[in-house]
């Protein structure tokens, strides 16, 4: 379960950014994820829910921003989106391409912060 380790970094980075910007609490975070990141979203959600307890992320919602896998097709001379990750060929012209342009992402995109320590303060 490497997602536990990823969730740990996630909580750390989100908290650092929140603190640096005067946030007391984090209400929600958005994670950008590609199919080649090798992350199981449900496993990461589970780990995140576990680790956020007792931190400024307690109660925070985890939202996903899914990115597709795209490769550069040398024949079509443009970036094309792949329907899956088992076949790295252009869906238009069938040219093989391993020139991956997106799909490996595993980024903390945004955090929603609040300057109050509790919801009803």
């Amino acid at each position: 379960m490497h997602e536990l380790s990823i969730a740990n970094s996630l909580v750390e980075i989100a908290s650092e950014h929140a603190r640096a910007n005067g946030g007391q609490r984090i209400l929600a975070i958005t994670v950008r994820v590609g199919p080649l990141s090798c992350v199981h979203k449900s496993a990461l959600e589970f780990s995140f829910d576990l680790l956020k307890q007792g931190t400024m992320l307690e109660g925070a919602q985890l939202k996903w921003l899914d990115v597709p896998v795209t490769v550069f097709c040398p024949t079509c001379e443009r970036e094309v989106e792949l329907p899956g990750i088992q076949r790295f060929r252009c869906p238009e012209c069938d040219t093989p391409s391993g020139d991956i342009r997106s799909g490996r992402e595993l980024d903390l995109e945004t955090i929603e912060i609040c300057q109050q320590a509790t919801a009803d303060a």
Binding site: L36, Q86, E109, C114
Partner: protein, 235 residues
Amino acid sequence: MIEPRILEVRTKILKKNDELARTMRAHFVEADVLVTNLVSSPGTGKTSLLRETLKRLLDAGEKVAAIVGDLETDNDARRLAESGAPVRQIMTHGCCHLEADMVQQHLTGWDLADFDYLFIENVGNLVCPTSWDLGESVRIALLSVTEGEDKPLKYPGLFNTADVALITKTDLAEPCEFNRELALKNIQAVRPGMSVLETSAKTGDGMDDWINYLKNMREQLKATGNTVAANNRSR
């Protein structure tokens, strides 16, 4: 009352690992050490291949060392130490992959100037190690002929961050009715243009090509300060 606000962070979640790995890679390259990260399922033959590799490189007068990750035991480290090379064990206690800081800690007391090649045997797992850059210059994805030809299709993520697919236990290909053409086709399906090597640690078949590959990579590293691998992972 101050309204909640949304901050753009846009940071890689594994940024700390990536940054450390980049620093480590720079040190390895500066010291002309070729670092190879071996990734596969449990039992594919990482330790067996590595033991043969260490022996052959030592016989050729090269200076080698190995770090081996294992969940709970130090069996692999003991098997590797038989070669005479310095070997260190990272016991991960349940952690399913190695991270850059674990490797860094286990380098303490070693002088990189004493090595030409450093091998890292990752924890047997096809998914988890993929996301962690260890500062290696070469990443090898191993699959054995006993595992079935569709491994690449099941784990495209690994094959897409590795530089070479290495098919192991080729001496068992026939009894296992291994369909080599299909395996090669599946590798190319998930990673067009990927280099493939084939070895048997038992008979020694293919070992010369593998050793030559490593030597070439080290020459390339010394000449250009870079390898294919490093480019491939730092997106």
